[in-house]
Subunit: 129 residues, 2 copies
DNA sequence: TATGCACCCTGTAGCAACTACGGGGTCAAG
DNA sequence: CTTGACCCCGTAGTTGCTACAGGGTGCATA
């Protein structure tokens, strides 16, 4: 599988795949006669894992760790579970922060009475003190 | 006011203030005899605006635009209101994304039965297909 | 007076996770 | 045989800071 097909299949883009190779998230694949990258099923699966974990918000470092943990099938699931829980907690904090922030924005937006900038509540809300 | 006092007052740090100057968010302030930056009230107010808008999640580009709009007190408030609303919508989308993501994480965490990695639902959930 | 310490200066490089470019090679179709 | 879609490499840009390194300044204390 060439890099373009792979990228399309993973809904990512070619540069990202090459980037992952450069930083060691993916092993360098075999090359065709024309020096094109040629991906084996194993590497395709690994990229799939990486992309899915990324869309779940794991960092590349998290994913390195998850992959290391996942590579030993006999190991306990505990560490992986713990990572997922930690990550969920971080997401919960992010949601809480954004919700508070939306409330503040709602407040300034509601206060805006479509006047002149000189009396704009939004501008005032952002001003000093 | 020296840069250190300013930074403390704004709960930001010195490097950030200098960074804002470098990228043109803040004008270069006057200098003391010792070549120390010396901030006038106007610039302090501007930094306050920037920091408050940043904590509300506006990007520096957004803030540049807000500052430009806010600088003409006679102008209508409309454009500023529209920016705030656009921004709130973006935050709402972010909250929705994170909430969906938390649901997925909850699912895999609930499915995890503390077994071996070979059968870990989290690993499976991230795997190909 | 010396000296220590907190503060200030500049300039550059690093972070995460890509994205975009420039300048070229390869391959299949028409 | 040329056009277009693909591939290669290397480097630099993005956002919003943060962290040095290697120096200067200013005030209090011994």
């Amino acid at each position: 599988m060439k890099i373009g097909e792979l990228a399309r299949a993973m809904a990512t883009n070619v540069e990202t795949v090459r980037y992952y190779e450069r930083i060691g998230m993916l092993a360098a694949p075999a090359r065709t006669h024309a020096n094109y990258r040629s991906y084996a099923p194993e590497q395709i699966a690994r990229l799939s894992f990486i992309r899915r974990a990324r869309t779940l918000g794991f960092t590349l470092d998290d994913i390195r760790e998850l992959l290391a943990l996942a590579s030993d099938a006999d190991q306990s699931c505990e560490a992986i579970d713990a990572m997922a829980v930690r990550h969920r907690d971080a997401i919960n904090r992010k949601i809480a922060d954004l919700t508070a922030l939306r409330q503040q924005l709602d407040d300034v937006i509601d206060a805006c009475s479509q006047g002149r900038v000189g009396h704009c509540r939004i501008v005032e809300a952002l001003g000093p003190r």
